[in-house]
């Protein structure tokens, strides 16, 4: 019987990739920026588009949408009259680790590995049992493989 049969092994125990996302990046919003961000979010909400991974940037905001909404979100942003870029080919790498907050340095270590893999990480979110990294699809599988090698196999 292995040492960790009863509780799930500490550290990273599974890595998954979810493809099929698109990234929207809105920039150069005029002042007051927060009012403008809210105007953009309202336009997207009125268009009934689900968004995820919202991040505030210095003079704008960014979020991801399902790839099937790429065209609609671009049209919505154009209609709102804001400068934006929307591109498909975005994936989410999910790094599962139970109670990751309790393991000091684990999140920073995963981010370091993500940068090492050469993937373009645009966003990071976390839950109690996983870290979610938004990356370009081209490097998502490579990054996931690197995580499996360096964070799961090495620990085994």
């Amino acid at each position: 019987m292995s040492k960790h049969d009863f509780e799930i092994r500490p550290g990273v125990n599974k890595v998954e990739v979810r493809h099929g996302q698109a990234q929207a990046h809105i920039f150069d919003l005029p002042n007051p920026v927060m009012d403008e961000r809210l105007r953009v979010l309202k336009a997207v909400a009125d268009a009934a588009i689900n968004i995820d991974f919202l991040k505030l940037t210095t003079n704008g905001l960014a979020f991801i949408v399902d790839e099937s909404d790429e065209k609609r979100v671009k049209e919505t942003l154009d209609t709102a009259g804001v400068k934006s870029e929307v591109w498909a080919g975005v994936s989410i790498v999910l790094v599962h680790a139970v109670n990751m907050r309790d393991e000091e340095g684990l999140i920073a270590g995963i981010v370091k590995q993500a940068i090492d893999s050469g993937g373009k990480v645009t966003h990071i979110g976390d839950m109690h049992d996983r870290l979610l990294l938004v990356v370009d699809t081209e490097s998502a599988d490579r990054m996931a493989e690197q995580f499996r090698k360096t964070l799961i196999e090495v620990a085994s």
Partner: protein, 449 residues
Amino acid sequence: MKILVMKFGGTSVATAESRNTSAMRVVSAREQGYSPVVVVSAIGRKGAPYATDTLISFLKEVDPQVNPHPRELDIMMACGEILSSVVFAHTLRSLGYPAVALTGLQAGIRTDENFGSARIAQIDASHLHKLIDDGKIPVVCGFQGYFDDASGVNGEITTLGRGGSDTTGSALGAALKAEAVEIYTDVDGVKTADPDYVENAPTLRKVTYDEVAEIAHLGAKVLHPRAAEIAMRYNIPLYVKSTFSDAPGTMVVRREDFPGRRVTGVTHTGKLVYLRLNLSSMPDKDRQQIEQRIYDVLAAHGANLFMLSLSPTGTGFAVPRSQFPMVESLLNGLVLPVEGEKKTVYLMQIGAVATKAVETQARLLEPLGPLPRIKVEVVESCTMVSIIGHEYLQQPGILLRAIQTLHEAQIPVLQTTDSEFSLSCLIPESETRRAVYLLHEAFNLSDIE
């Protein structure tokens, strides 16, 4: 035989009166036909004479410069629960019930060898079963286990880390195939918000394991996520109840058994410091190497990061205020030689004004040529408020409503992050109370069941 695991937290065993109240709950369970197995935390919370922190302070006071050895520290910390279990067992015996105090080892809780944060490897519940069969009430020390080391030393004491007694409760529930695990505390159950901030915040009658784990992850202290993970893994019904009231408490269930509600609650995390690195003026290759090194250093020193962001213009993260001095000492004046198109040496500077140490560093490195500075903007006294829910949070307009609520109240939102279960906003700490209250109202959580 219907086994019921009943875990009592620090405040439930803090005084003779509270121990008596807790003991009467055990008696009541037994009279209802259950075979209770009790798990106890150390007596009282921080500052109490036998609380875990007090025991640690005995060692730290010897010489604050010398850290206690992890093995000895675990033995010391385990004393709090040993004392508590003996007193609680004696309380039950004085009421006429045959209770037996047990250490983690005596209860068969074998762990890995990580002092201070051990994971449970296996539970041999045979001794517990025998006691139960004999009509005894086992009173087990929470938070501790043991391992036999390879050199032949048997029974090395380990502790399970934060929330360890909740973990013991859930784990014994799983090992004993209990009817349920009841976690007794000083609140009525899992609430929609901190009742100190939202008076009359309702108690949730049901939550899913995932929801309660996320609530704990994002700041609420009601149940440790690890206990929820174990209960979920072994499908053990879990209840959070108050020792001091007869309220039904909160039942924690699988998601299939409770599709959940749109928004579960609003939490707030403790004191954070946000650091923002502007890396926009350097080549991509340099930026990537710098980010790599920074996160490498932070990982090596155990920094606990919140609100991470990476973008072509830079990176940002928050750390608990208690860790900020460590992070500041690591990054302020850090010299980062980078092999890009040409070799460049960068110097990090925390804050707008360079400290003497950074200026000295710069002067000493002058012979290397130009030394571009990476200035780190620091926002002190922040906190994170979070809305917990399900996929509903991704629906159109939800993020808008949350941010708009804060913006209309003129509460600055410094950053946001979200996941499948939560949306978090980084705000000034001074606005925590208002933000929690306003979000609670904006999502009609006062009417929740």
